[in-house]
């Protein structure tokens, strides 16, 4: 029926690639929501490629639910869209987002049972999707990115939807279809996220999550199987957030080597266990190990030593040159300051 027309509808994106900056932005928007609000919404910007829709940017939008209606400010929304286009004209409006899940003021906390804390879609979403689809600059098939930030479970679930209803055929019924979302990042972003992740490695798993939801909402909703003191120890650190410095050069080399050693050790333990019969062999792991081993070129020691020597002498030369330049600079600076120009 309706699904038949979906398959041939080429305007709908097959997959959504969300960039981390978008997820961070929408969550930040949620954390800065006005007092009493339980949901924030905004517009998504991005680029469409043949394989997927890249969501790269977003614009927070102020909204207000009054009874059954929703108040929006189209003027300031339009202004913001215009400003974003001035910055980067290659990003187009591709959809909208909503982040919900904060317990409404006075209401009972959402029950932690079930897969997600709250359903990602609700009636408001349908109405808003209708509205945003009607925007002049919106793409033909807008995507709705919904995130549940209630932290009732050990995750922050999010999903993307498109409305595939043909308003003529279905008599205006909305039919939301879920589109797979992948979080993708560039090399540069990965480097930054790695630095941030390194700061958070002390907090662990569900204990961290429970403490976080407590820090965020001041309630013990998703505490499952976590001792109070364990959660408390995380929350005392977590409520302030974590602070790290920018990783330094040599430190990062040390970290890299330590990590390499751990990985090698893990691989070796696995191989030893399998050969001793303690663990079942896994062909996939075996293939990966073989692949990794074959990637290492077998070079004669002479060649390696020569390459290292070459590299070291290059470095020695450049260090010498730069030190010489630095010394010259310091000298000329001292002379110039001691004997000022006429």
């Amino acid at each position: 029926m309706a699904t038949d027309c979906i398959v041939f509808d080429d305007s709908a994106p097959a997959a959504v690639h969300a960039h981390p900056v978008v997820l961070f932005s929408i969550l930040d928007h949620f954390l800065r929501r006005p007092a009493g609000a339980s949901r924030v919404i905004g517009l998504l910007l991005g680029r469409s490629t043949s394989a997927a829709l890249h969501v790269t940017n977003c614009i927070p939008v102020m909204h207000c639910v009054r009874g059954t209606g929703i108040d929006l400010d189209p003027d300031s929304m339009g202004k913001m869209v215009e400003l974003m286009r001035e910055v980067d004209s290659s990003e187009a409006l591709v959809g909208w987002y909503s982040v919900g899940g904060a317990p409404a003021a006075g209401a009972e906390p959402a029950p932690a049972a079930g897969a997600g804390g709250q359903p990602l879609l609700n009636d408001v979403a349908f109405a808003l999707h209708e509205y945003f689809s009607g925007m002049a600059t919106m793409s033909d098939c807008p995507v709705h990115l919904a995130m549940d930030a209630s932290m009732a479970t050990d995750s922050l679930p999010f999903a993307a939807f498109v409305n595939l209803s043909d308003s003529l055929a279905n008599g205006g019924l909305a039919l939301f279809e879920q589109v797979p979302v992948t979080v993708v990042s560039s090399e540069a972003e990965r480097v930054a996220l790695d630095a941030l992740a390194a700061s958070g490695k002390t907090s662990k798993g569900s204990a961290a999550f429970a403490a976080l939801s407590e820090a965020a909402y001041g309630q013990r909703s998703g505490l499952r199987g976590v001792t109070a003191e364990e959660a408390g120890s995380v929350s005392s650190g977590a409520s302030r957030g974590t602070v790290t410095g920018v990783p330094r050069d040599l430190e990062s080399v040390v970290r890299g080597v330590t990590r390499l050693a751990t990985l090698l050790e893990a691989a070796q333990t696995f191989v030893d266990d399998v050969s001793a019969g303690k663990r079942a062999a896994d062909p996939a792991v075996g293939a990966s190990i073989a692949e990794a081993l074959s990637a290492v070129p077998r070079l004669p020691a002479e060649t390696v030593a020569k390459a290292v020597r070459g590299g070291v002498s290059d470095l020695v030369m450049t260090s010498f040159l730069t030190s010489l330049t630095a010394a010259q600079l310091a000298l000329s600076e001292r002379i110039a300051s001691a004997v000022p120009l006429a």
């Binding site: 981390p20 900056v21 997820l23 961070f24 932005s25 969550l27 954390l31 800065r32 006005p34 905004g42 394989a51 790269t56 102020m62 400003l83 910055v87 930030a149 995750s155 922050l156 992948t182 993708v184 090399e187 540069a188 972003e189 990965r190 480097v191 930054a192 996220l193 790695d194 630095a195 941030l196 992740a197 700061s199 958070g200 907090s203 403490a211 976080l212 957030g241 602070v243 790290t244 410095g245 920018v246 990062s252 080399v253 890299g256 990590r259 390499l260 390696v304 290292v308 290059d314 470095l315 450049t318 260090s319 040159l321 730069t322 630095a326 600079l329 600076e333 300051s337 000022p340 006429a342």
Partner: protein, 366 residues
């Protein structure tokens, strides 16, 4: 959270005069990601933007930022004001705390950058410039620095601008143009949860779907020059940092350094030419004055009015053309930049020495 941050904004607006000097910059994870996104997408051209934040007891807390327009056609201040008003309406409040710029290979001592930062610091004394080098990501390093102009530099050039000359005050060393402010990264706990969530490996829960997704990704990567990779495998780039081949970076740095030294040499030569010319003129002036003095003594004996000691019609009393004169700022910045390159090379060399010796030790142990 929202209400407490707006409370901060009000408090700091009242006490803005009493703000302590900024001694460190605390960059929120969102602001960091936004800076990186903008700088990377704008490559190879330069990206600039505005940092929003507050000075809390000497720590400049940068919570958010926005990009400036690419082609700056004069009405940038109205763009900034509209943007800040719009952001304030959705709860992103914060004072202008400085700005950021993408600077490949640590080329920071340009006249433009110094001039912009000078203006910023005169308007907002605690403001900093955050420089980010998108090219360094290839080796897995986060090249992020916050700089401000030193007080000595600010004082020197504000008095110089007022007096119309740049020759006043104590000598300023090239190494004292910029002060580096330590940058720290701050992560809100909820953001940390998000990061942990999106970077967690998903293969275990959806082993079957993983293979097809990987195939899709491969196709997508081929079609997409953007080289974006799925994050689900983790954000770990410890191993990227073990890349041994630093030839390209060394090459580029050496070339930049030698260009800089060449520029300095040119400036020195023109300074010397100017100095020599000035010395000749000074000699001519003193000769003229000596002659005049003798003449005036004679005229006094004859009870005639003395002649003036300065004759503007002579060449030696005319001011030297400004083109012949080396701008002190140019020379200073040029020297400062050469210094920065030297330092960068030092870091690069130190890192690679470590890796090379490690590699050879491993080889020997085998």
């Amino acid at each position: 959270m929202w209400s407490s941050s707006s409370g901060h904004a009000m408090a700091s607006a009242d006490l803005s005069i009493l703000e302590p000097a900024v001694d460190s910059v605390q960059l929120e994870s969102l602001a960091l990601l936004k800076v990186i996104k903008h700088c990377r997408e704008a490559m190879p051209s330069m990206a600039t933007g505005c940092l929003l934040g507050l000075n809390v007891g000497g720590v400049l807390e940068v919570a958010n930022c926005f990009a400036f327009k690419r082609d700056d056609d004069g009405d940038s201040s109205s763009f900034q004001n509209t943007m800040m008003t719009c952001l304030k309406a959705v709860g992103i409040d914060g004072n202008m705390a400085g700005w950021y710029q993408s600077t490949p290979f640590a080329t920071v001592c340009t006249k433009d950058l110094v001039a912009t930062q000078y203006d910023f610091q005169r308007e907002i004394p605690g403001s900093v410039v955050v420089i980010y080098d998108p090219t360094a990501a290839g080796t897995g390093s986060l090249a992020l620095k916050a700089l401000k102009l030193s007080d000595a530099f600010m004082k020197r050039f504000s008095t110089a601008a007022a007096a119309g000359s740049d020759a006043a005050g104590a000598p300023l060393l090239a190494s004292g143009v910029f002060v580096e402010v330590p940058v720290r990264l701050h992560q809100n706990p909820v953001m940390g949860a998000l990061l942990a969530d999106i970077s967690a490996p998903r293969a275990a829960s959806a082993a079957g779907a993983g293979a097809s997704a990987a195939a899709d990704d491969a196709a997508d990567r081929a079609a997409d020059a953007d080289a974006a990779r799925p994050l689900a495998g983790g954000v770990d780039c410890d191993l990227d940092r073990l890349e041994l081949n630093a030839q390209a970076y060394l090459d580029k740095h050496l070339r930049l350094l030698s260009e800089q030294v060449e520029e300095m040499a040119e400036l020195t030569v023109s300074a010397q030419v100017w100095e020599r010319k000035e010395a000749i003129l000074a000699r001519q002036r003193s000769e003229f004055e000596a002659k005049r003095r003798v003449e005036n003594v004679k005229r006094q004996e004859k009870r005639q009015a003395p002649l003036p000691m300065v004759d503007p019609s002579l060449e030696c009393f005319a001011p030297l053309p400004t083109i012949a004169r080396v701008e002190k700022l140019d020379a200073l910045l040029s020297a400062a930049q050469a210094g920065v390159y030297c330092k960068e090379m030092g870091h690069l060399a130190a890192r690679n020495f470590g890796k090379l010796f490690l590699a050879s030790a491993l080889q020997a142990a085998e």
